[in-house]
């Protein structure tokens, strides 16, 4: 297979990669039959490589079911990858290693469902101090820290520390979740659809607060969302996922203004314009993503691609640089690939 994931190209010339993910794969068995043997495998994350630079916000977009949430769970070590490595600041995060305990504190996550991610039986304070106590902070110090992070997210500790999750609004609960994630002093925060469930005005407030916190605490974000507008607003770089693979990575302006992959184009054109004179002109995406149990041969997007050619069924396009730290996995963009739209080498 030609140019099947090239970490060198993905890594680019960046000097300060906080998180480096290389060829990460995770598939889930579908069990069936009398003895519960694996009948097939869903390839949720199928060979993804990328860097997250210190201090940036990397937006990850894609349709539902493309593996975004599995990727997030892999990154915070909730599930173990089948193959591939995750390195934080150059130290690999391997299951069972003594360093993992220290490393995983540095990556924390905010989940989508603000209600399900708080224990209904615990007060806000107890929810936040749990992780601290588990990591050896004594009770009084943990309490001070909890109050400090609550204050940071704009919730007065006097008001909220002793309350229960059901007494809070969705926005307040999501702030508590952010506070809990911040309590451990992480360097990287994964926001998995963290604002998707909030209504628009609250969403804007939380987004602004996230921006403010990032400045104040020198945080790095991975912002996972299906909402293209929100990703555009908050991200420095964007990674587009399709069926468990990264198909285009680049700076936010490049991705939004000059997308190269036909999938990215389709995704962006599916957005509604605020201007009635700007009608959707590009061919919209049609159909559903193919079954991840048995993805199409060659390029996975070819079944829905407006510019697919026989070549696309034969060879899988690798991620190749397309100038200015922009990389794309599409034969039409790779010179010399043989695609009729590609520049001839």
């Amino acid at each position: 297979m030609l140019a099947q994931s090239q970490p060198a190209a993905v890594g680019e010339s960046s000097s300060a990669a906080l998180l480096r993910v290389a060829d990460l794969r995770k598939s889930f068995p579908i069990k069936g039959g009398l003895f519960g043997r694996a009948q097939a495998h869903v390839k949720a994350v199928d060979g993804i490589s990328f860097d997250v630079r210190t201090g940036e916000t990397l937006g990850i977009v894609g349709e539902s079911g493309c593996g975004k949430s599995t990727l997030a769970r892999l990154l915070i070590q909730l599930i173990e990858p089948d193959t591939g490595t995750i390195a934080l600041d150059g130290s690999p995060m391997a299951a069972g290693s003594a360093a993992l305990r220290v490393l995983r504190r540095q990556i924390q996550m905010v989940f989508q469902d603000s209600y399900a991610s708080l224990n209904p039986r615990l007060t806000i304070e107890d929810s936040i101090t749990f992780g601290l106590k588990a990591n050896g902070t004594d009770r009084i110090e943990a309490k001070h820290r909890a109050h400090a992070v609550l204050d940071m997210v704009g919730l007065a500790p006097d008001m909220f520390a002793q309350r229960y999750p059901h007494e809070l609004s969705g926005g307040q609960r999501q702030r508590v979740n952010i506070a809990r994630a911040l309590a451990l002093g992480p360097r990287l925060l994964i926001l998995d659809e963290a604002v998707s469930a909030l209504d628009k005005s609250v969403e804007a407030q939380v987004l602004n607060q996230l921006q403010e916190l990032k400045q104040r605490l020198d945080l790095t974000y991975i912002f996972i969302s299906h909402d293209l507008n929100v990703v555009q607003y908050i991200s420095d770089r964007v990674l587009v996922m399709y069926l468990g693979k990264a198909i285009e990575v680049g700076p936010v302006q490049r991705i939004y203004n000059a997308p190269l992959h036909p999938y990215t184009r389709g995704l962006l054109s599916s957005r509604l314009s605020m201007d009635p004179r700007r009608r959707v002109s590009a061919a919209p995406l049609s159909g559903d993503p193919p079954n991840p149990i048995d993805p199409p041969s060659g390029c996975r997007f070819r079944t829905r691609c407006p510019i697919a050619e026989p070549l696309c069924a034969q060879r899988e396009p690798g991620l190749v640089a397309a100038g200015d730290s922009h990389i794309v996995a599409c034969h039409a963009q790779h010179s010399g690939s043989g695609h009729s739209l590609a520049a001839q080498a």
Binding site: R73, I76, Q77, L78, L100, R101, R104, R105, I107, Q108, M109, F111, D113, A116, S117, L118, N119, P120, R121, L122, T123, S127, F130, G131, A134, N135, G154, L155, A156, D158, M159, F160, Q162, R163, Y164, H166, E167, G171, N177, R180, A181, L184, A204, Q205, L207, N208, Q209, E212, Y233
Partner: protein
């Protein structure tokens, strides 16, 4: 996007804050407003207190037989609830009998809840092979009806208080474990448990800090419904001669020995049965009340 002032989001001053109640406080308040549960609790408490202070309350010696006063009718001026087939005071025996019957109702359930609950939570949280091993082992117990199982185990171990306690506990462990396992499996996949795991906390810490607080409610509801079953099966064991040994007063055993008198003094004969009925009925209604009170979105 304009930066919205964060101060706007801060809630009003502390003085206006409503008092937060924990889940258990809420459940307690709801139970306190439920007349059926309160009545049943009062009746059970009365029976319990009577059993505990039996020597002070009982009008007669429960062991003293009298051939001349056999099967006196209910309402006798000396023996208010009559006498049994050996002339022993029935009221005194019912009061004393409560000791053994209540003990056999509660103790096996308490033990089974602790043991079965622990095993179920472990199986549910660990999942995988350990879950399979524990739960399949318990499935074997499900092949037999609970009464038959209790009779069989008691039969093997022999009659006696400790043996029937052991057999009843063994009978109740599998169903409690199954409830605990299924609730734990649900809780384990909640986001807050995942968030706790992401902090790097040890499993025991997550179980004690996050899982137990959410599984105790459902387990307690189920366990409370077992108390009446336990009383009935324990009485059944005694009735069959596998539980408490005569002349010890125990409701099930009394029911057995008074059985021959059912045509002569039917009222006397059914009195122990009435006590069993009242006790199990009350514990069942309390269980229902508990279920209702805990069915709150907190």
């Amino acid at each position: 996007m304009p930066n919205l002032a964060l101060d706007d989001l801060r809630a009003p001053p502390t003085g206006l804050r409503p008092r937060s109640r924990s889940f258990w406080q809420t459940v307690g308040r709801r139970l306190a407003r439920d007349p059926v549960t309160l009545t049943c609790a009062a009746v059970l408490l009365l029976i319990l207190l009577a059993a505990i202070f039996a020597p002070l309350i009982a009008p007669h010696d429960p062991y003293r037989t009298s051939m001349a006063r056999r099967l006196l009718a209910v309402g006798d001026h000396r023996h208010w609830l009559g006498t049994d087939e050996l002339g022993r005071d029935l009221l005194s025996r019912l009061i004393y009998g409560g000791r053994m019957s209540l003990f056999m109702g509660f103790m096996p359930v308490v033990l089974a809840t602790i043991i079965g609950g622990t095993l179920g939570v472990i199986a549910g949280y660990a999942g995988g092979a350990l879950n399979m091993a524990i739960m399949r082992l318990f499935d074997i117990f499900y092949a037999f009806p609970s009464v038959l199982l209790a009779v069989a185990i008691s039969g093997v171990l022999g009659a006696g208080l400790v043996n029937s306690l052991v057999s009843l506990t063994l009978v109740f462990i599998p169903p409690v474990a199954r409830v605990a396992e299924s609730v734990t499996t649900q809780i384990r996949n909640q986001d807050y448990v995942e968030a706790a795991r992401a902090t790097g906390a040890a499993s025991w810490r997550i179980v004690t800090g996050h899982v137990l607080s959410n599984v105790t409610g459902p387990i307690l509801i189920y366990a409370s419904s077992l108390i009446s079953v336990s009383i009935v099966i324990a009485s059944g064991l005694s009735f069959l001669g596998l539980g408490v040994v005569p002349p010890e007063p125990e409701w099930g055993l009394m029911l057995n020995t008074l059985r021959q008198a059912i045509y002569i003094a039917p009222l006397n004969a059914i009195l122990p049965g009435v006590m069993i009925f009242i006790t199990s009925m009350c514990s069942n209604l309390i269980s229902d009340g508990l279920r209702g009170a805990m069915d709150v979105k907190v």
